[in-house]
Amino acid sequence: MRSKLTRPFLYFFSILLSVSIISSCGLGSKKDKTSEEDKIVESVSADGKVLDDFKKSKLIFYSLPSPLETAMLIKRAGATYNEELLNDLENIDKYVTNKQMALNLGVYSADLSYTSLFDQTQSSIKYMANTKKLAEGLGIMNAIDEETMKKLENNMNNRDVMMDIISETFMTSNAYLTENDRPAIAVMVLVGGWVEGLYLATRLTNGSLENNKRLIERIIYQKLSLYTVINLMEEYKSNEEIALLLDKVNELKVIFDQVKIVNTSKVEANTDEASKVTTIKADSETYISKDVFEKLLDKVEEIRTEFIS
């Protein structure tokens, strides 16, 4: 997900100024006549100094594990399906503010991905309907239209198609919000989805560090994803809602800070030119105490309960 624009203030100021000046000169109507390609290509002459200034800028993106990727990780870890863990479909009526709708669009997207990966097709359709309602509530046009719903129903037994629909609707919502100057809302959707994925994973351990060690490993490594979550939220903390959410996520960080991930070897990469695959190897060891694990379970549940209430 797009996150941080590290361009200088002048650049931001220029956007505002240029929109007002150039728009008033009727450039908009001229652009209408250009081809689609012209709209996405621009050439501007420049002198060296300006170019140097411009190139110093750097865009930074933080890509969180999406609800779909998280569901895949859960499934690959050998976890089972437990419908009781999902956010109740009836809860949707509670979500009336933008914050509630955004967080729970993420939550329901994660639940939708989980149901889909475990071939719970009837539940998938119900959860898709809820994500549709919340997307509409947030003003996201055409994220999930009737055609998408029909396609979903017609492909209930084709997981590949279902995953494709889920990924596309998630991208559409995210892109719509980002490109319509509502990046803070887009971040809330991502955070809601990430927290729900973490909630599902932690509950599926049944509170045991021993039952499914692979799943425990997945949870431990969310410490790395937490880094991207926090950095992403930091960029939008001028938004009051994000600032409050960031406080909650930082409470999670205090617990994750007690989880140990230690690289025990140098990282190595082997590239197979023919298959275009690079394999990256590094040994690492992880450790989480029972006490910290229980604290983590409680904190994740607390945050998730706050999101869905």
Binding site: R159, N174, T271
Partner: protein, 148 residues
């Protein structure tokens, strides 16, 4: 006069970036996604306008056991994009310069790693600069036991 020229350039680039950013979604959806092939798009949207010489970085956790495809798409008119995959210590794990500036590559990690995709739009040796949509999409390989 020179100062005015600089301001106009900044304004032009900025205005362009603000007005065409919405175009990048269709570009990512229609062009970028198709380049993921059999891999399932993870659903994340990473696309923006980049200009020649401009750099971007993307932070992502790569999970052990998952096979990922990175697909970078750009408008045809933009010069090649140089991309590298590096770890937190700056160790270069992949450099597309060694592979004919390929914009699509698969990665598999044997232990979970936070990695950084570093990108730079190369420059032509001309006085004007070109800007355009660049999308970075991640695909995840689907399980073998997939239901059909």
């Amino acid at each position: 006069m020179l100062a005015l020229k600089r301001v106009i350039l900044f304004l032009s680039i900025a205005f362009f970036a603000s007005t065409v950013s919405a175009q990048c979604f269709s570009f990512a959806k229609n062009i970028g996604k198709s380049k993921l092939g059999d891999f399932v798009h993870d659903g994340n949207y990473n696309a923006t306008i980049l200009s020649e010489g401009e750099k971007a970085e993307l932070f992502k956790t790569f999970f052990e056991g998952q096979k990922y495809r990175i697909s970078i798409s750009k408008i045809e008119q933009l010069p090649p994009i140089h991309f590298k995959l590096v770890n937190n210590d700056g160790v270069v794990l992949f450099d597309n310069k060694d592979h004919d500036y390929s914009l699509s590559w698969d990665f598999e990690v044997k232990s979970t790693q936070m990695l950084i995709v570093e990108m730079e739009v190369l420059e032509r040796q001309t006085e004007d600069i070109i800007s355009g949509c660049v999308a970075v999409l991640f695909g995840v390989e689907v399980e073998k036991d997939k239901k059909k």
